[in-house]
């Protein structure tokens, strides 16, 4: 059998790659890339750093749940398009400054959905649905904006191919609910609404002629996400790609399965036998995983539940740095990633920013170790 015809899930241990090879193989200039994790938690930062080292530009970043990776890429000047929900660094910097500045100066063109709307798009991507229905965007200006549409990135070319394979021909569509709101609360059982919802808002919605000109219940349809590459951080991965995520799952499984290719960054590669003891606890099946990269502590400066907590002091310091001149931030981030990951991990943690203990390198990383019972480090100081 020719190598090219071997299905992904049968490729076996060939999937285990170096950080550098995985990024080189799957991520190119312009790639539509979807980082997993949520906020500071379980973000594949080692892969993100390698993208910066390889200086892969013009990325189309699509993501739910926090901008920590996108912030670094934006600081490094690598992002061109952004399809997202929320660009904050949580309480420490409610709007990630490099992302914000790049949007404001026109370097990044952004399309945004609600967290819920985007979440449904990932569910649609996972199950191969042509779209997902929701109503939560009604009453907002959601339908009035379409950045990618204005840029001419939607639809087909003259030869019938998609203008951008990862951008849907429409941002969203409104239809009349063919089930007349039957599936909504208050529902149709005799005796009326048995739920806590006593607004009877549905009856008002039935009278509205908004969006279609006709009376009746309307539904917004949003397209699935179809990234070229999803990057995920999991605590354990089997040698063939079976992936076990512990702690908050976030959008990882949906985003991984939606993608053409998936790279899993892991704390530890283990035998498949280990993960098959409880197959129902695994989150991504091996056939969806194209590359496995083992990088213990590779989630730094983020948190990996049960293994290590995030480096609050780093983020506190970084959110001062990223407000400096754009060129200065760009130079900082490119220097910060260093030449390879082990050099980075043994040097950068605790380096150049104040910490309570004054430790650095791997010593600092071990200081961030989580309590395996709680999943995080209870004594971690988080001064604002």
């Amino acid at each position: 059998m020719a190598e090219a015809t071997i299905p992904t899930f049968m490729r076996g241990k060939e999937k285990i790659m170096s950080l550098s090879d995985a990024v080189k193989t799957f991520i190119k200039p312009g790639t539509c890339i979807c980082p997993g994790g949520f906020s500071y938690t379980k973000k594949p930062f080692a892969l993100a750093r390698e993208v910066i080292r390889q200086d892969i530009k013009d990325l189309f970043v699509t993501m739910n749940g926090g901008a920590s990776i996108c912030e670094f890429w934006a600081a490094a000047g690598l992002v061109k398009l952004l399809d997202t929900t929320y660009i904050g660094l949580e309480g420490i910097q409610p709007v990630a400054y490099s992302v914000r500045r790049s949007i404001q100066d026109g370097t990044i063109d952004v399309e945004d959905y609600s967290n819920y709307g985007y979440g449904l798009r990932t569910v649609a991507g996972r199950y191969g649905w042509p779209f997902a229905p929701l109503m939560s965007e009604f009453g907002t200006s959601f339908m009035d904006h379409d950045t990618f549409g204005k840029m001419g990135l939607r639809g087909k070319k003259a030869d019938g191919s998609w203008i951008h394979p990862s951008i849907a021909p429409a941002r969203a569509a409104v239809i009349e609910d063919p089930f007349d709101g039957w599936g909504l609360r208050p529902h149709a059982f005799e005796g009326g609404d048995g739920t806590s919802n006593k607004t009877n808002f549905l009856e008002q919605v039935r009278e509205s002629t908004a969006y279609t000109g006709n009376k009746g219940v309307k539904v917004i349809l949003v397209p699935p996400i179809l990234p070229e590459v999803t990057i995920v951080l999991a605590q354990r991965v089997g040698e063939l790609g079976t992936t076990r995520i512990e702690g908050i799952l976030g959008p990882d499984a949906e985003q991984a399965i939606s993608a053409k290719n998936c790279i899993v960054q892991t704390e530890k590669v283990v035998t498949e036998e280990e993960l098959r003891a409880q197959p129902y606890s695994n989150n991504i099946a091996m056939q969806y995983v194209d590359a496995i990269v083992e990088v213990p502590y590779g989630g730094f400066p983020g948190q990996v539940p049960y293994y290590y907590d995030y480096d609050w002091d780093f983020w506190r310091s970084y959110t001062q740095i990223n407000r400096k001149d754009k060129a200065e931030v760009n130079a900082y981030i490119k220097d910060w990633v260093m030449e390879d990951e082990w050099t980075f991990l043994s040097t950068r943690p605790g380096d150049g920013y104040p910490t309570i203990t004054g430790t650095s390198g791997l010593e600092r990383l071990f200081e961030l170790r989580a309590d395996a019972i709680y999943g995080y480090k209870p004594g971690l100081a988080r001064p604002l």
């Binding site: 283990v270 036998e273 071990f366 395996a372």
Partner: protein, 121 residues
């Protein structure tokens, strides 16, 4: 052919109707049996998930043990010590609870034997 053989395995003569009997055991007894059986099952299922990594721990510890004499810095020894102490704390807890459970199981086995003898006599 296969289907016929399958059918032939159990004949009408093999099937018996159970006689209706009034329950003799107290419902509370059954509930306590179920509660204990379920708890032991929950642990057995959880153990199944840690069976392989648990087998690996002595190997990785042995490798670390061989590395200790080569350590140059006291700070590194601090880290090793901390990790091992944490490990001992968790594993001691596992061993302690597992030991207590096993002792209780053995006590119940003896107790069921005594009760069996009592019922027969």
């Amino acid at each position: 052919m296969e289907r016929k053989r399958m059918r032939a395995r159990i004949t009408e003569e093999d099937l018996r109707l159970s006689e209706h009997v009034e329950p003799k055991e107290a419902m509370e007894t059954w509930q306590k049996i179920i509660a204990a059986a379920w708890d032991m099952t929950i642990v057995a299922v959880a153990y199944n998930d840690m069976r392989v990594p648990l087998r690996r721990v002595p190997e990785t510890l042995e490798t670390l043990g061989k590395e200790v004499p080569t350590v140059k810095e006291e700070k590194t020894l601090d880290i090793i010590e901390e990790e091992i102490k944490t490990g001992i704390r968790h594993f001691s807890d596992i061993v302690e609870k597992a030991q207590a459970s096993k002792e209780e199981m053995e006590r119940i086995l003896r107790s069921t034997w005594n009760q069996r003898v009592k019922i027969k006599t």
